[in-house]
């Protein structure tokens, strides 16, 4: 014979199991997606460093000729994950670039580079997606980017 109370308890156990299962499943899935997106963000962070460094280094070729008057513009790449924009802050000095991510992921990556102060006059801070303009500053003959 099956009692009504027994059915209710078994039903309750099944429901509890289902709730626990969905919770664990959801947590694991979220963590997996988090790790996957973090890897993508780091990949794009590296790309921001490389492309910005390339742009700034190529300005030297123009700098070499003192007769040239020029202005060049460059849009720093954005960091996107699943069509979500990840804000980032770029700190520049003559020997390194630090890219600071402060959103769902909080980390920073430092990269070495060489932008001598005898050649460059750079703003100390940029952000991803920002358009920067470089020109030769007639006052000191340096490449000024802001």
């Amino acid at each position: 014979m099956v009692k009504k109370g027994q059915v209710s308890i078994e039903l309750l156990l099944v429901l509890l199991f289902l709730i626990a299962f969905i919770y664990v499943y959801n947590t694991l899935a979220e963590q997996t997606v988090y790790s996957l997106e973090l890897a993508k963000v780091k990949e794009q962070t590296s790309d921001v460093y490389l492309s910005l460094n390339e742009f700034l280094q190529f300005q030297r070729s123009v700098f070499a000729d003192s007769n040239v008057k020029y202005t060049s513009k460059y849009k720093i790449p954005e960091i996107n994950v699943a069509s979500k924009k990840v804000p980032c802050k770029i700190s520049l000095s003559d020997t390194n670039m630090v890219i600071d991510i402060n959103s769902t992921w909080i980390f920073f990556e430092a990269f070495n580079l060489s932008l001598p102060t005898t050649i460059y006059e750079l703003s100390s801070e940029f952000s991803c997606g920002q358009e920067i303009t470089c020109f030769k500053n007639p006052a000191n003959n340096k490449i000024k980017c802001n």
Binding site: L11, L36, D65
Partner: protein, 163 residues
């Protein structure tokens, strides 16, 4: 959901659903693991290649290139190098955490011993060299019939990540 003759619930559909969910999760997990591994292992190689390509481009477009002058103008010749002004590692935009070795040309700071293991960016090059600025007329003569003021140097650029 129904009860069998012992009063136990048979929830086959629920079990099937759970099994499919577990399999789906395992699939996502494996995919993620592969993606993260690929990203982590490929990133240093991509970075090395980008650093190397940039150095190679700057080698051919350096501020130490041969200068052609006339009364009004002066311009640098891309793909040339004035060997009296040696290049430096910094001019080739090689970061301090990377090492380099250049043969065929003098590049200050690029004489590290090439490691036998690990990833190395290697690029052979042939570049025109001069030892002094050229007049425009001399440059045109060099193009038309060759000259002793411009010669060529062959070498190899090697870059790798330092420890």
């Amino acid at each position: 959901m129904r009860l069998n003759n012992k009063g136990q619930m048979v929830v086959l559909d629920v079990l099937f659903a759970i099994t499919i969910m577990i399999l789906a999760f395992l699939l996502l997990f494996k995919f993620s693991e592969t993606e993260i591994y690929r990203s982590n292992s490929q990133r240093p190689i991509d970075k090395l290649n980008r650093v190397g390509d940039l150095s190679y481009s700057l080698l051919f477009n350096s501020p130490n290139a041969c200068l052609v002058t006339d009364l009004q103008n002066k311009f640098y010749l891309s793909g040339t190098i004035n060997t009296t002004n040696p290049l430096t590692k910094e001019m080739l935009a090689i970061p301090s955490d990377y090492n380099c070795n250049v043969t065929g040309l003098t590049v200050t700071g690029c004489s590290s011993v090439v490691p036998t293991t690990g990833d190395i960016y290697v690029r052979n090059f042939k570049i025109a060299t001069c030892t002094a600025d050229l007049s425009k007329q001399k440059y045109l003569d060099c193009i038309e019939s060759g000259c002793s003021e411009i010669s060529s140097a062959s070498g190899t650029l090697r870059i790798w990540k330092g420890n």
